[in-house]
Symmetry: C2
Subunit: 229 residues, 2 copies
DNA sequence: CCCAATATTGACAAATCTCTCATTTAATGT
DNA sequence: ACATTAAATGAGAGATTTGTCAATATTGGG
């Protein structure tokens, strides 16, 4: 275990088994279906991270994954590599949670994406905890706000928002989302917290009060329906 | 080392030496001036926490404090107790940073307090990093927003703000401040980030655009002057 | 200057952790 | 079935950590 390089990817990245994850090739040779173990380890890593934070040990992970110690090192060269993989995994899962069906109006799109992220946090406490833990890592802010930049720029261009994708705006919105997730995790969120958060986010972007409330209601309903499906 | 009890204080709290910290009594017996060591350890703990996060070890701390291993256990029963003390220390330091000279207008007071907190973060990277690290701990949200509640409630009562100290508002403001601090720590903050953040905060509370800008400018200037003194 | 109270030290046992590796177990194609 | 290839195992070496404790050093009062 060594200091994890702040930015960038691991210099090692010695994937031993699997090697696919999202490779188009249908798992070159059929019998590599033992990606299962890798996912077991990653899931266990997420749970361990949610619970213990960065102090997580390999022992925690393998215990949680119900796998032997040595197996871990078949999949990750290092404890640090697991961190890297987990961080990337979460970044992608945020983007995935935010991805919404094509909606033209940037305000609606923003509302829907934000609603989906918050609802995901509400429904998956581990996920929420992991996000909060990774928030205190360098570079995390960028990941969190990536899903917004585009919408905000477009919304400004269309005159839908009165403010663009500048730093302060991104900070305000991602901060709001992060704090809402925190509140959810800590269990003292009102039932309407997600809706209020979305509404607040819209208003911060310059959407008028009544319309913000309306859009938030609509977005939450859509996100809920979509999640139920 | 064991799981730290989520809420509440440590059940142990075996302070061996000192026992005062802020006791009114003038350090009962004179020669207990060896509070110095305790502060050394806490300062070292803060630096270690800033750098290593929750993975911090007692070894890190004593090395940083330039003190022997055994000494640590004269002041803290546990590694966990150090955490508790650090968390409390930081909570108080936020309140201290936010405390501003008596200003009547709640908007001005909010602006000044927020400006001071952000400037403190700008000027003291360790402090900023520690805050971010503690953000991912249960209960941290409460600490961060405590300095706001009063101002917000009063601002609403006086009709100065159009929104009160409800959860969503607190989340929005503390989130903005936290994200601004993060940006500062990560080194990609514009020079005017503090001012923009304060302005955004004011606007989120319902202060009109131009006045928000004006108050932010004023608050930053005042906070800067105060800090320089 | 000496004494008693207090603080500091560093060696150490016990626990824990990381990572390696020889060996065993399981899966796959033929 | 059988041979071949990949995956899993767990013992264990070496490093690090935690917390204890007897010995040592320091302090301030008398």
């Amino acid at each position: 275990m060594r200091d994890l390089s702040i930015l960038g990817l691991s210099s090692k990245m010695g994937i031993v088994a699997g090697m696919s994850e999202t490779t188009g090739a249908p798992l070159s040779r059929g019998h590599r279906k033992r990606e299962k173990t890798r996912r077991q380890l990653i899931d266990a890593g997420l749970r361990a991270l949610a619970e213990k934070g960065e102090g997580l040990t390999v022992s925690d992970v393998v215990a949680e994954a119900d796998v032997s110690n040595g197996t871990f090192y078949n999949y990750f060269v290092d404890r640090d590599e697991l961190f890297l993989v987990l961080a990337e995994h979460v970044a992608m899962s945020i983007a995935a949670a935010a991805a919404s069906a094509p909606v033209l109006d940037p305000a609606r799109r923003f509302a829907l994406a934000t609603a989906r992220v918050i609802l995901r946090a509400v429904g998956d406490e581990t996920w929420a905890r992991v996000i909060l833990r990774l928030m205190s890592r360098p570079g995390a802010g960028v990941q969190l706000s990536r899903y917004l930049r585009e919408d905000l720029a477009e919304g400004l261009a269309q005159g839908r928002f009165d403010t663009g994708a500048d730093d302060a705006t991104l900070d305000q919105v991602t901060g709001l989302v992060a704090m809402t997730i925190r509140r959810v995790v800590e269990g003292d969120a009102q039932p309407d917290a997600p809706e209020r958060a979305v509404e607040r986010g819209l208003r911060a972007l310059g959407v008028a009060s009544e319309e913000a409330a309306e859009l938030a209601r609509e977005a939450l309903a859509a996100a809920r329906e979509n999640a139920a499906r």
